[in-house]
């Protein structure tokens, strides 16, 4: 797939130009860097450009020349015509660099749809429009108008922003990072990140995949592909538009609805994608993956010639969840043999300020032999007696031959520059701070786990789908979108325990129901218009006898009518009062990109304020459900603190799996929430006390 896109024998440039400063010229110049490539300029006004024979139309190119790839740089309105001609000429790969498509407005979007239709008609693979182009260092192709050609390397990069392509290329050139392939995605009219993930997966010159994305096109497909690819190659993604203001900018820029950041986090986590917060971090991680073997655990050794740097690194390790290794006895002994007595022989190892290149090398050799060490941070400060270039030169060979990852932090500016250059020459990254090195080490450790972890398939939960289906169908018929308490029965179809409850239309029925159920009871208002019942006085707890039920009923009606005079009240619901449990929430929001995003959190009044919740894209595996429960900060409160009995966590997990099944089975459910789910002590299960969900009745 896409072989001839990235390794063509002949490339046509539609809109080629000899004029300096024109994109049509820049593309030609870049292509001409590869002398083996047959380049065919197309321009209706020229017969020759830069010494190359120029054709007026792609259809004029003699049949003896098979055009593998066409790069289109003509104005947007001419592009569909050019694609049509390419199609007739049998060209199967096209890059549209021209802008003026969907990003520009209605007319542009129309042109883009035309392009897509033509590509479908002729079976053309298309990159762009509105992009910088592509670079393949293995084949020597620079089909872009980028001012820099990438160095050869094993990092494949794709970017939804052309400008960020330029930024990354320029930066990479400065710090000596090489790429295997470099792709500017543009508007992703036909080919998108999902296609390229698969391309990189099978690309022998690629070892690391990096991406800058503003959104993904097909969320569920992305998860599936990324999950598979991440087992063979690390995927590092910067996804912008994390905040409300950022996502507003994404919407304005791309005309897409930015999904929630929580959904991206969850999807990335579930599919083994490592998220970087900035381009700098993306390059940091990618460079580590590019050269380092993977650590088999999270035990880190620090070697430093300055105590302060070592402490900073140790702190950073702690925050990243990395462990400072406990050395084997022989390691300490061997260090003692050669290091000065004032040195520190335990982790962090301090070789002292005047340590020679040889001593650094010795310490590094000893530490990397230690079975308790999974990765090493090598820190160098430029003290007066420090031979920075010497150290760099000495350790470079060791690092390249090591079976463990060794990340360097030559800290400083002018005096470490030479050392940094030497490392760079050897293809070894230098991190400007211990924190950056630690973050990358953490990425390596995390990826080791991802690579060796099998996600498994979500288990199918038994359910009475017929019942749920008929429930939803009848709601559709009645045009009822928003459902609450009165629709608790849908939970029964998925075998989710529901609190014993009765519906009463008036006071008389309410008292009768309470007497029948036994006290104490809870009374809740039933109204399709009221979502926050407690805000309008629509919940009364712990009613112990008929008198209390009557008073509660009357005062509740009065309250509700006062706060929401227009609300339609269909009656009240009486529930058995539950005690001795803990309240949790299980929810779902259908994300525009990834679909059903499950949410779990501790219930109660503070939940909205604390935002201590976990997310995962449904359908979830049992392991993911478990992780959802255990990853909230307040987990100890459910697990039992200070002698308190543990809650029935298994029943929460079970309910999460059932809800996951329900919202997967019925895409009509747009939002769903069991709030609260009352969790009883271990072994005693849980019960749904209230629900709310919204159905999509558009269809």
């Amino acid at each position: 797939m896409l072989e001839k896109m990235f390794n063509p024998d002949s490339v046509a440039v539609i809109g080629a130009s000899r004029k300096e400063g024109k994109v049509g010229r820049a593309v030609l110049d870049n292509l001409m860097q590869n002398s083996k490539l047959k380049i065919i300029p197309i321009n209706p006004k020229s017969d020759e450009i830069l010494g190359l024979p120029c054709y007026h139309n792609i259809l004029d190119v003699p049949e003896s020349i098979k055009v593998d790839l066409a790069i289109i740089v003509v104005p947007a309105k001419l592009v569909p015509g050019s694609i049509d001609e390419c199609g007739q000429a049998g060209v199967k790969n096209i890059i549209i660099i021209s802008a003026g498509f969907k990003e520009a407005g209605i007319e542009g979007a129309r042109l883009e749809r035309e392009c897509i239709a033509l590509c479908e008609k002729y079976g053309i693979k298309l990159i762009g429009p509105n992009c910088l182009g592509i670079i393949d260092t293995a084949s020597g192709l620079n089909a872009s108008f980028a001012p820099n050609m990438a160095y050869k390397g094993n990092i494949a990069m794709m970017s939804q922003s052309g400008a960020i392509c330029s930024v990354t290329l320029d930066w990479a050139e400065r710090i000596g990072v090489g790429f295997s392939k470099f792709i500017s995605l543009g508007n992703k009219a036909v080919l998108s990140e999902n296609d390229f993930l698969q391309l990189f997966e099978n690309d022998s010159s690629t070892a690391v995949i990096a991406a800058y994305l503003e959104g993904v096109k097909e969320g569920p497909e992305f998860i599936k592909i990324a999950e598979r690819v991440s087992h063979s190659k690390p995927i590092v993604v910067v996804k912008s538009g994390r905040t409300a203001v950022g996502s507003k900018a994404v919407s304005s820029h791309t005309g897409t609805l930015a999904g929630s950041d929580a959904a991206y986090n969850a999807a990335f986590k579930q599919s083994g994608v490592l998220r970087a917060d900035s381009i700098e971090e993306m390059l940091d991680y990618s460079r580590a993956f590019s050269v380092c073997p993977l650590p088999k655990g999270r035990n880190i050794a620090i070697i430093t010639n300055a105590g302060g740097l070592g402490i900073l690194a140790a702190d950073a390790c702690y925050y990243a969840g990395l462990t400072i290794a406990s050395f084997e006895e022989k390691t300490v002994e061997r260090l003692r043999e050669k290091l000065p007595p004032a040195a520190n022989f335990y982790d962090p190892v301090d070789v002292l300020g005047d340590a020679s290149p040889d001593l650094y090398e010795y310490a590094l050799d000893v530490v990397q032999d230690d079975a308790n060490v999974d990765g090493i941070l090598l820190l160098v400060s430029p003290q007066s007696t420090t031979d920075v270039p010497g150290i760099a030169e000495k350790i470079a060979t060791t690092i390249k031959g090591s079976k463990k990852p060794i990340l360097c932090n030559f800290a400083g500016g002018t005096r470490i520059a030479l050392g940094e250059d030497i490392l760079s020459k050897h293809g070894i990254p230098n991190y400007s701070s211990a924190e950056r090195a630690v973050a990358s080490m953490d990425a390596l450790c995390t990826y080791y786990k991802i690579k060796n972890h099998k996600r498994g398939d979500p288990e199918e939960m038994p359910a009475d789908r017929e019942y749920a289906r008929s429930f939803i169908e009848s709601a559709s018929k009645n045009k009822r979108r928003v459902h609450g308490l009165e629709s608790m029965d849908i939970l029964k179809a998925y075998d989710i325990p529901v609190v014993d409850a009765r519906v009463a239309k008036d006071l008389h029925e309410a008292v009768e129901a309470a007497e029948d159920m036994g006290y104490p009871v809870v009374m809740k208002i039933l109204s399709p218009d009221i979502s926050h019942k407690s805000d309008v006085g629509g919940i009364r707890l712990n009613l112990k006898h008929a008198d209390e039920v009557e008073r509660a009923y009357n005062s509740m009606m009065s309250d509700v009518r006062h706060y929401m005079p227009d609300a339609i009240i269909t009656g009240v619901q009486l529930q058995k009062m539950m005690s001795g449990g803990k309240e949790v929430i299980i929810g779902m929001d259908r994300d525009p990109q990834f679909g059903p995003l499950l949410m779990f959190g501790l219930g109660g009044t503070y939940v909205e304020f604390l935002k201590d919740v976990s997310f995962a894209v449904a359908p979830v595996t049992r392991e993911e459900a478990k992780h959802m429960v255990s990853s909230i900060k307040t987990y100890p409160l459910i697990a039992g603190v200070r002698g308190e009995a543990a809650s029935d966590i298994d029943s929460i997990i079970q309910t999460l799996l059932k809800v996951s099944q329900l919202v997967t089975d019925f895409p009509e459910i747009l939002e769903f929430e069991i709030n609260p789910l009352m969790v009883m002590p271990e072994g005693q299960g849980c019960v749904a006390m209230d629900i709310r969900f919204t159905l999509n009745l558009n269809e």
């Binding site: 520009a104 507003k248 919407s251 005309g255 928003v482 339609i568 919204t694």
Partner: protein
């Protein structure tokens, strides 16, 4: 010739709709229909002379060619009120009865529509019961019913009518579907026990409450940026997108048949609305959205209209439109007739008026 005055407890209760629907049904029965709204309160200029918007509409819909000066002989102007307050005699009664006798000529049935609410016009002696008694015709009261307090209003209205005119009966209008049981089982029997004939109960209807996008465009003097061919759709609700996008999605999803009002710079809300396939996007403050957003709206076939006013002003206008939309479109007219046929005891109304309908 039979005649009836249609009055209501409050404004915007459905008098015009009832006149129009009943008129249409009686006309289908081969009867010659007349219509009057003696006191015009929504004044418009038609071909150089003032008339009432409702009466002009109904006149056209029922194909009545009586001159406007007889259909609506009196106009509720400031000077009419000032004169009444100062005690200046205007001979209103004479104008009323002259017009009525002109309208009644060669008619089998005349529907007389009240003005505003039942007591309105008392200060110049032409409240609905005043008019009914002067013309010697019975009254039909239409009352919106959204809570039990409507019963209070109805009982009060019956007192106002008192001995002045005869109340034939009432129609309960815009009753929430959820109150069906309560209304039919408790409220109607109660009213009947009080000697008030209930001709029927009409439930809230989405089509009638809604407003065409084209009406919004017209009212806001807005510019249509996208999908000018999709303005013939009905909008039932409006939502204001001023919150964070994540919350906006929830609100919009719960009511996707809405028009979403938001600022031109809120690309996040705009995309949330487009993604939820709302009926239309109203951008306030004359701020054009980004090209990419417009392109997405066009792909989804969602009209985007640009209003000049600020958000608050736009909300106020749209709020006024929805729920109080004037009946101009055939869809709504057909819907009204259908509702009346299904839910009103038309033969009983005819009988009260002394008219015989063919079956």
């Amino acid at each position: 010739m039979a005649s009836i005055m249609i009055s209501s407890s409050e404004e915007f209760s459905g008098k015009s709709s009832l006149c129009m629907g009943l008129g249409k049904i009686f006309k289908e029965n081969g009867l010659k229909i007349g219509y009057m709204k003696p006191v015009g309160n929504i004044l418009i200029d038609v071909d150089g002379s003032l008339t009432d918007e409702d009466s002009e509409g109904i006149k056209n819909l029922l194909g009545i060619d009586d001159p406007a000066k007889y259909v609506t002989p009196i106009h509720l102007t400031d000077s009419l009120i000032d004169d009444a307050l100062r005690g200046v005699e205007k001979d209103l009664e004479m104008r009323l009865s002259d017009a009525y006798s002109e309208i009644s000529k060669d008619k089998d049935v005349v529907f007389v529509e009240g003005t505003g609410w039942i007591g309105g016009g008392s200060l110049y002696g032409l409240s609905d019961p005043d008019v009914a008694s002067k013309l010697g015709i019975p009254m039909l009261l239409v009352a919106r019913f959204n809570s039990v307090s409507a019963v209070d209003r109805i009982l009060c209205d019956v007192r106002i009518i008192g001995d002045k005119a005869k109340l034939s009966g009432i129609v309960l209008n815009e009753v929430p579907q959820s109150m069906e049981d309560r209304v039919t089982e408790i409220i109607v029997p109660f009213l009947e026990r009080k000697g008030i004939k209930v001709f029927g109960v009409i439930y809230e209807d989405h089509t009638l409450r809604s407003v065409f996008i084209s009406e919004i465009v017209e009212d806001l003097h807005a510019e249509v940026l996208v999908a000018p061919d999709k303005l013939d759709q009905l909008v039932e609700h409006y939502l204001v997108g001023a919150m964070e996008a994540s919350s906006a999605i929830k609100y919009i999803r719960r009511q996707p048949n809405s028009a979403v009002i938001t600022g031109g710079d809120r690309a996040d809300i705009q995309m949330a609305a487009i993604d939820s396939k709302v009926k239309c996007l109203i951008l306030s403050g004359n701020m054009r959205p980004s090209g990419a957003v417009l392109a997405s709206a066009e792909e989804a076939g969602i009209p985007v209209i640009l209003a000049r006013g600020d958000t608050m002003n736009t909300i106020e206008r749209v709020e006024k439109l929805i729920g109080h939309a004037h009946i101009k479109q055939q869809v709504k007219i057909d819907r009204i007739t259908e509702l009346l046929k299904n839910h009103l005891d038309i033969p009983a109304i005819a009988e009260e008026m002394g008219v015989k309908l063919k079956e």
